[in-house]
Point group: C2
Chain length 297, copies 2
Amino acid sequence: MQRRLGAWMSEQRCRIGVVAPASRMSPEVAERVPTLAKSLYPDRTPEIIFHPQCFASHGHFAGDDETRGQAFLDIANDETYDAVWFARGGYGSCRVVEAVMSSLTEPSRRKTYVGYSDAGVLLAALYRAGFETVAHGPVAQDILRDGGEEAVGRALAWMVDLSPEALESTAGRGKMTAAFNMTVLSQLLGTPLQPDLGGHVLMLEEVGEAMYRIDRSLFHITSNAEIRRVSGMMLGRCSNITPNEPDFGMNEEEIARYWCQRSGIPWLGRADIGHDISNKIVPFGTSREPCRSYPQK
Amino acid sequence: MQRRLGAWMSEQRCRIGVVAPASRMSPEVAERVPTLAKSLYPDRTPEIIFHPQCFASHGHFAGDDETRGQAFLDIANDETYDAVWFARGGYGSCRVVEAVMSSLTEPSRRKTYVGYSDAGVLLAALYRAGFETVAHGPVAQDILRDGGEEAVGRALAWMVDLSPEALESTAGRGKMTAAFNMTVLSQLLGTPLQPDLGGHVLMLEEVGEAMYRIDRSLFHITSNAEIRRVSGMMLGRCSNITPNEPDFGMNEEEIARYWCQRSGIPWLGRADIGHDISNKIVPFGTSREPCRSYPQK
């Protein structure tokens, strides 16, 4: 990836723009994240700008569709930013993705994008459009989790240094990967947003769904002919599983193994991702080597 | 549709086989439905046979996958039955549909199929395979709803007489139609089970989902290029909508109109279907004229 020349030549600070294409971010996040960034990078504190749209409110969303889409473009198309960081997931990216993708300009290609869950809709679209540094990883609002500094520190380590330590342990080293929330990927199948994951290791996680819904999502995903071209599937954590009435009779790993076996997709075991503070970075495609000009310790 | 010659020539009783490819049916249903049938058709009471599999139990399901699939085939491939009636929805048809479809024989084509919700998976597959009398309509277990005799009587009227009174008021008269639970249709998109709905009026209903999920399902459905070939969309009832935090800001009709407008699918108003006793019959494809040999009143 080529970083913008301006930042590379003239300054040492990484400039990160935070946007919320789905649900509204808690204002507290904008106080705690920069404090953490300063403590982690005292000499080269990344500059983290929260787009005012992060605090907007429109029904379910952080502002109406036009506001959210424009905010994403404000950051993505601005040459002075190095990274677009998702404030949080929730729901809403699918409403703005078409408008966003049709208005991205050249500077948007020279940026790191980090998010997960609902953000997977935009990550998928960016990756499909050939963007080279798109990654599944923690969002800003993860700082509100118990021990959330760990998650946010990992996202910063990726955005600031593309630090290999931030990666899911099986990712990187030239391997093609992608990671999604199951439901989010399911809702992209059969649409123009479905990314080409042929040859990729596909990692899937879930949160807040009943076991029968996990089963149904994996039926859907593994029944798609394009998805069957992945090199294998790994299961991330499935957290806050809601009650299944009656008991489903299989756990999430048994379900994932079942659908892998039925579909002929190689089962590759567990992935270190999920809606939690241990959620690791998974690049879309092959991971990039660190290329920042920052002084290395 | 050609009815089986045996029944047509030798007897007047419609023979209906009930199977449960998803969740387990309540035993009470097998007592109440035949009683209702006798009261509605005293002179030509349809014979309603509940396959023992309806009462089986295996974790979430009415028996394991093999048991459920085989039960469906037992009825569908048996020349002596006129109709295959779904005991209920729930979840599980997607696990047996492949095995079922690969083992159906000629007698299965000369039957009426009636169900909805999770049964939509099998209805879609049957319709895609060219089956001519497949319909969205009440299941046997609907008799347990308050006033459920109304729903079950409607399903019987369709299976016994293909009665036009059972139809959704805008269906029939040669119009091509199809009806689905939104989530169920969504989970078929991009799979080999997705039916060709080009030129059809597509009716969609939902139950037990939050408003943001209804929005997401309609994003998914209306983003599919094949679905965009429908002649229009109608919205059935969305019942037991779970809380949306914060309030979504739009109701289900506003949401449906929004996605129709964005996708260019004509909005055709409300459909008289849903998870309730007023749930009407919607044929897949064009509806058939009554063709039974029963004495008409």
